[in-house]
């Protein structure tokens, strides 16, 4: 074979398939100046700065979009080329007023090029006047005077975020960057991901918080404290204040990308109303006390309640926002020192059904797949999740995968953004997933589109399921879910033909009376198509909060101690007990809803609530508030005086995600480092430290001096899944559990060769309607959920300019229903369920189906959870947030008939 190669500046260069001259030059260390080609973007080809000479052609060629071919002789920096480049830069500069750019102290890529070519002023006379700044957006600013029309932002917005915000208006010298049909950044479809900002070579698009150009003196790599995607961030700070946050470029989770929350919404960190000292109740008031006093007081109260009413009169909710180390120590304190298993975390009210279902049928209650499977997937099924809003960075990866050709099936009552990209969209009635998934299973089985080998080798229950689906009627199922039978057939056909598939699912499956069954029947589809454990396929539940996965992993569950080990297993109790030097109680404790009921009934007398605003976030708000009122002792660890904290006897000021050390575990089981970027304000302290100090006051001899020490113990307590985890191994991208020993690289995909539980289990279960499905006099079904701009109860995001992006919760209602009810966009409506009522602003929309309404729960004044009721999944105890029967009243319908 003849060696094929080319020459660049006299160097022999081998030919790689499809490589451009620019890429080859970069590979061999030759730098070719570029303007319109961004590092991770495709060539635009317009700036012409990368022109090089190719022997044998009279015209110079653009290195960024010319493929290197055999025998090419390339010169990248001849006098002619260099003077050409200077001319091009001069022409580029000629379109801008003087002093727009500063080549003497270059701050941007473009200015660096100007400096390199010693261009301080354009040689063209009579140049343009500055154009008007667009400062409408709370985070982003566009300065047309600085725009050189390189179009990188257009490509970034399309190919990274998938938002298609920008285009070029007009042509020739009239060309200008515009936001499609919209007039301003604020009105545009921008979701404030910042991808364009990071790639703009002139700082024409900038972050508002970066304009002041405060030089940061510190960069801290850590994990974002918002959703469960677990993006890696670089936090810049100066004098203990955060100056800016950027995506870590090399991170496997997010590759430099972030969302509006992670990148921009950090103002809460320095909000005026942060809690800075412990507050102790004195009658009506909460009064500042010292930490010593606080710890002394709380340990005495705990001991006395324990002594008087027994340890099970106490309970704890650990925080999904806090670190693994904090969750681990709190559950250890309650189990090992106080002696109760009354330990739970907010996973109860979100993904407990998911975890239970996955554990039952596969053997582990977490994602089988990783985010990297998104790009490998040929078929993606999204069920009961709205990733582009609730998990934006994963959402944009899914969107890109679909734009690249993956098939997408969206199963959701609402026309979520990704429904617009779907090959097949099934807008089902909320709470009818089981009927739908069973129907799809029937179609797959009956058309023979199942992975026979996979089923035979790896799965139990196939013949039972075959028999079970025989008895189902497609028409009847279709009727139940409100989706046409041929739509269901289309979806099944795509799944059958294109699968294995990646199943991305969320709370729309879990938070139902049939939550566990919803996920189990989805797993049926995963197994029938041979998807679980395969590359580009499997189960990928999207975890809501930054460390909700970790809280469950750490044992913040009433029946499971660290690493999903059952408290009912005497071996476990003995082994863990000997490490702890304590006795672990045998009887499983209560879940969050049970603890709240028990508090209302006076059975639980003392609760420790770490960073969770149950008074706003938990269903049946009125009931929750009366339970809190009934407690003898309520300790709340918080950033702010939340709705819940107002009921507290002792409020402990907590350090936020950006202020402490430890680890978070994301939705793909990746344990990642959290590092303090700034000091907590005042006397606020990391949660794990507080747990340690209270434990010591209760008589324990805990000697952990840093989060690292805690992780060492976690690895020893749960060696099967964390044995190999240690801070020194976590590096930049962490480790995915299971990771049993120090040589283990972590696990990208679980159940690869066999299921953790041995064989996978197919489940036969019928759809059972929720009691909320047909309540006389309450004709609408309410779905609750989140929106892009805010995060859960909004404690953090409401204290940031995200408020400008969205100032209130709104009730989405279908145009037809709105017309019937006499509701106009923006008007106020009373909404009422059997459990409570509230008054909200209506948003007339086509995103919801007729008969359904949607309401988010980010603002306390909305009182969304006064509407949600006591219904729960019997298996997981997960509340039903996703289906509530409601009725609507407008001022007109209220007025008495004339």
């Amino acid at each position: 074979m003849i060696d094929r190669n080319a020459t660049i500046d006299g160097m022999q260069v081998s030919i790689h398939a499809d490589e451009t001259v620019l890429e080859a030059a970069t590979r061999v260390g030759v730098t070719i100046p570029t303007l319109c080609k961004g590092r991770d973007l495709s060539p635009e080809g317009g700036c012409r700065l990368c022109l090089v000479e190719v022997e044998g052609t009279s015209r110079p060629q653009a290195a960024c979009h010319t493929k290197l071919a055999d025998g090419m002789v390339i010169r990248t920096a001849t006098d002619r080329i260099e003077s050409l480049r200077r001319d091009i830069l001069d022409l580029t500069l000629s379109a801008h007023p003087d002093q727009t750019f500063d080549a003497s102290s270059p701050q941007t890529e473009f200015e660096e090029l100007l400096a390199q070519y010693d261009l301080h002023r354009s040689s063209y006379p009579d140049r343009a006047m500055p154009a008007t700044l667009d400062q409408t957006h709370p985070y982003l600013r566009y300065d047309p005077s600085r725009c050189i029309l390189c179009r990188r932002c257009i490509d970034a917005c399309e190919s990274i975020q998938g938002q298609f915000v920008f285009s070029i208006e007009s042509r020739g010298i009239q060309s200008s960057l515009c936001y499609g049909d919209d007039d301003s950044f604020l009105d545009s479809g921008c979701v404030a991901c910042g991808a364009c900002v990071d790639r703009c070579p002139t700082a024409a698009i900038t972050d508002i918080d970066r304009i002041a150009r405060v030089k940061s003196d510190r960069v801290t790599r850590t994990t974002c404290g918002y959703c469960g995607v677990g993006c890696q961030i670089d936090v810049r700070s100066r004098d203990g204040r955060i100056t800016e946050i950027g995506g870590a470029k090399d991170a496997v989770v997010n590759r430099g990308h972030l969302c509006a929350k992670g990148r921009y919404a950090h103002a809460y960190q320095s909000a005026d109303d942060r809690l800075t000292q412990p507050l102790l109740r004195n009658g009506e008031h909460l009064e500042p006390v010292s930490w010593d006093e606080a710890i002394d007081w709380v340990s005495t109260r705990i001991l006395s309640i324990g002594k008087r009413w027994g340890p099970d009169a106490l309970g704890v909710f650990t925080s999904s926002r806090s670190t693994n180390e904090a969750a681990y120590l709190l559950q250890k304190m309650f189990r090992g020192i106080i002696g109760t298993n009354n330990i739970d975390c907010c996973a109860r009210v979100c993904h407990s059904s998911t975890a239970l279902a996955l554990r039952t049928v596969t053997g582990t209650g977490a994602a089988s797949a990783s985010y990297e499977d998104i790009e490998l997937a040929k078929c993606i099924v999204i069920a009961g999740a709205n990733p582009t809003e609730a998990h934006p960075v994963v959402g944009s990866r899914i969107k890109q995968a679909v734009l690249d050709g993956a098939k997408l099936i969206v199963i959701d009552p609402r026309r979520i953004e990704l429904a617009e990209y779907a090959t097949c969209f099934l807008p089902l009635r909320p709470g009818t997933n089981v009927a739908l998934f069973n129907a799809m299973a029937k179609l797959l089985i009956e058309s023979g589109q199942v992975d026979v080998r996979y089923l035979e080798e790896r799965v139990d229950g196939w013949s039972e399921l075959e028999k079970f689906v025989e008895g189902l009627s497609l028409e009847q199922s279709a009727q139940t879910c409100g989706v046409a039978p041929d739509r269901i057939a289309d979806a099944a056909q795509i799944l059958g033909e294109v699968g294995p598939a990646l199943f991305v699912h969320g709370l729309g499956l879990s938070e139902l009376t049939q939550g566990t069954e919803s996920v189990m029947t989805l797993c049926n589809l995963g197994m029938l198509t041979g998807s679980i454990g395969k590359p580009g396929a499997g189960m990928l539940p999207l975890r809501g909060q930054n460390n909700v996965q970790g809280n469950a992993d750490m044992g913040a569950m009433p029946n499971l101690v660290t690493g999903y080990q059952s408290v009912q297993d005497s071996g476990v109790r003995e082994r863990v007990g000997s490490i702890w030097n304590a006795t672990i109680p045998t009887r499983p404790g209560k879940t969050i809803p049970e603890m709240i009921d028990a508090a209302a009934a006076g059975e639980i007398r003392g609760l420790w609530i770490q960073g969770e605003d149950v008074a706003q976030s938990d269903p049946n708000e009125t009931h929750v508030r009366s339970a809190l009122n009934n407690l003898e002792l309520l300790v709340v660890q918080e950033l702010f005086l939340s709705e819940t904290a107002q009921y507290a006897d002792l409020v402990l000021p907590a350090a936020g995600a950006l202020e402490q050390d430890g680890t978070f575990t994301n939705g793909e089981r990746r344990i990642q480092r959290v590092r303090a970027a700034v000091e907590p304000p005042g006397q606020a302290r990391p949660d794990w430290e507080v747990a340690r100090n209270v434990a010591c006051a209760l008589g324990a001899h805990w000697t952990y001096s840093c989060a690292d020490d805690v992780m060492t113990e976690i690895a020893a307590v749960a060696p099967a899944i964390f044995g190999g985890v240690a801070f020194d191994r976590l590096g930049d991208d962490g480790l995915q559990w299971p990771c049993p020993d120090r040589t283990h690289p972590g696990t990208r995909r679980v159940h690869e060769s066999e299921f953790i539980r041995g064989r996978g289990q197919l489940i036969c279960v019928e759809h059972i309607a929720s009691p909320e499905h047909s309540v006389d006099g309450f004709p609408y079904l309410l779905i609750t959920g989140r929106v892009l701009e805010h995060y859960n109860v909004g404690t953090m995001t409401r204290r940031t300019p995200n408020r400008t992006l969205r100032a209130e919760d709104t009730l989405e209602i279908h145009v037809r229903d709105a017309a019937r009810e006499g509701i106009v966009d923006g008007s106020r409506v009373d909404i009422e369920s059997q459990w409570g009522s509230t008054n909200v602003v209506a948003q007339v929309s086509q995103r919801v189906q007729p008969g359904h309404v949607f309401l988010s729960f980010h603002f306390p004044e909305t009182h969304t959870n006064r509407l949600t009721g006591p219904q729960r999944d019997a298996k997981s105890n997960c509340p039903e947030y996703k289906v509530t029967a409601v009725r609507l009243r407008t001022p007109e319908t209220q007025s008495p008939p004339a």
């Binding site: 700036c47 012409r48 015209r59 022409l91």
Partner: protein, 430 residues
């Protein structure tokens, strides 16, 4: 439109006859004989015949049409596409319009021959939006073809020869005439030229292998197939065989289109238009549409074929001959030309976007008597940095005419700068 006297050739022989646009009359004049002969051959043979006929593309670049057809991939099961370029937006060009209005079936027969030769199953005729009448004529002709089963499935009874023809109305920009700008526009996007490679033969309309030819190029093909290569080569020059429709405009007595063999001397071409108006003296001639550099009276005997024109620093382009007499202010010409290109650049490339803007600004300044020697230098430098360095040939088209004017009529520019005003009377019109 007045049909200007057919002079010598074959394309426009029957253009005076309204019926020539109907299938029966067209057939009576020998129409579809070329296609019939082509269908009796293997596609490769048709391509070979076209290659040896040496028909040069009439859209401006003059590339051998048969050669272009041979670039279409052969072993592919992807559908192939033909695109007929009827955008005709070059100022000074109006020949395609006449062909579309008077000989639509010539174009369609040419397309069918090409479809057979390259294996295309879909053809788009992209016509500039302002050309309402041509669009109507072609739509009517296509309809008639479908009726007569001369397009659609199994054309002329040839099993498996399926070709659909679509007439597409353009959305109005000069750059949509550039073939890849056209393809973008055809796909419903903003008309912006694509980076090449890949060329249309690999990645064309909707990503499919595509050949783009000009209206006139297609119209010649039936005659070549019907009457043979030798007959065709009997017209024109060795390197530029056949006839073309020279469109003569400007300061002549009788502007119009004249079909003449390629290589006809410029003097004769202008002569058919009645010579320079009012017996005035000739000052300059743009030989092939506004993007081509200007000729001077010294060039009056140049044979009007590309190989001779390129020796004089210009090209045949689209054969749109623009005649200017002694009253013409060449700075004003530069203003008009540069205004057009400034307005029509798509704006992707730095040199083209900013360069066309500066050229126009400077020309206007000089015309208004505010020019300086620095402007003269810029008028030399800016076109030089535009030529041959951009995504498409538009930048060349914008630079060349200015370079030509500066080369031959520098005195006009200097006079403006010296006198701080335009030395020509106001009455000027181009």
């Amino acid at each position: 439109m007045i049909i200007v006297p057919y002079v010598t050739g074959y394309l426009s022989e029957h253009y005076a006859d309204d019926d020539f646009r109907t299938l029966s009359a067209y057939k009576a004049k020998g129409g579809f004989e070329g296609l019939k002969k082509a269908l009796a051959m293997e596609p490769e043979e048709v391509v070979e015949i076209m290659k040896s006929a040496g028909l040069r593309g009439r859209g401006g670049a003059g590339f051998n049409a048969g050669m272009k057809w041979s670039f279409m991939p052969k072993d592919t099961d992807r559908p192939k596409v033909l695109v007929c370029n009827g955008d005709e937006s070059e100022p000074g060009s109006f020949k395609d319009r006449l062909i579309m209005e008077r000989g639509p079936l010539q174009i369609l027969e040419g397309i069918l021959i090409a479809a057979w030769a390259v294996g295309a199953s879909k053809a788009f005729i992209y016509i500039r939006g302002e050309y309402k009448e041509p669009i109507r004529c072609l739509e009517a002709a296509v309809k008639e073809l479908y009726g007569a089963r001369l397009c659609g499935e199994n054309v002329m009874g040839k099993k498996g020869f399926n070709i659909d023809i679509v007439v597409h109305s353009g959305a109005g920009a000069y750059i949509c005439g550039e073939e890849t700008g056209l393809l973008e526009s055809l796909e419903g996007k903003k008309g912006q030229p694509r980076k090449k490679p890949p060329f249309p033969a690999q990645f064309g309309a909707f990503g499919l292998p595509t050949t783009v030819n000009n209206i006139e190029t297609f119209a010649h093909a039936p005659y070549i197939l019907d009457r043979g290569v030798d007959w065709f080569r009997g017209f024109g020059t060795e390197k530029s065989p056949g006839t073309t429709l020279y469109g003569v405009s400007g300061h002549v007595e009788r502007p119009g289109l004249f079909e003449l063999p390629l290589g006809t001397p410029l003097r004769e071409v202008i002569g058919h238009a009645g010579g320079v108006r009012g017996g005035r003296r000739l000052k300059g001639v743009i030989p092939g549409g506004m993007s081509m550099p200007i000729l001077t009276p010294n060039d009056i005997d140049v044979p009007m074929a590309d190989e001779f024109l390129s020796e004089r620093g210009t090209h045949l382009g689209t054969g749109g001959v623009m005649v200017m007499d002694e009253t013409t202010c060449m700075v004003r010409v530069a203003c008009v030309v540069s205004y057009f290109f400034r307005d029509e650049s798509c704006g992707q490339c730095t040199q083209c976007r900013e360069g066309t803007g500066w050229i126009n600004k400077i020309c206007e300044r000089i015309e208004q008597g505010r020019g300086t020697q620095q402007d003269m230098k810029l008028l030399e430098d800016v076109p030089a940095m535009m030529e041959g360095q951009t995504i498409c040939a538009f930048a060349d088209a914008a630079a060349w005419p200015i370079q030509g004017l500066m080369r031959h009529f520098r005195d006009d520019f200097e006079a403006h700068i010296r006198e701080h005003k335009c030395p020509y009377p106001e009455s000027f019109e181009l």
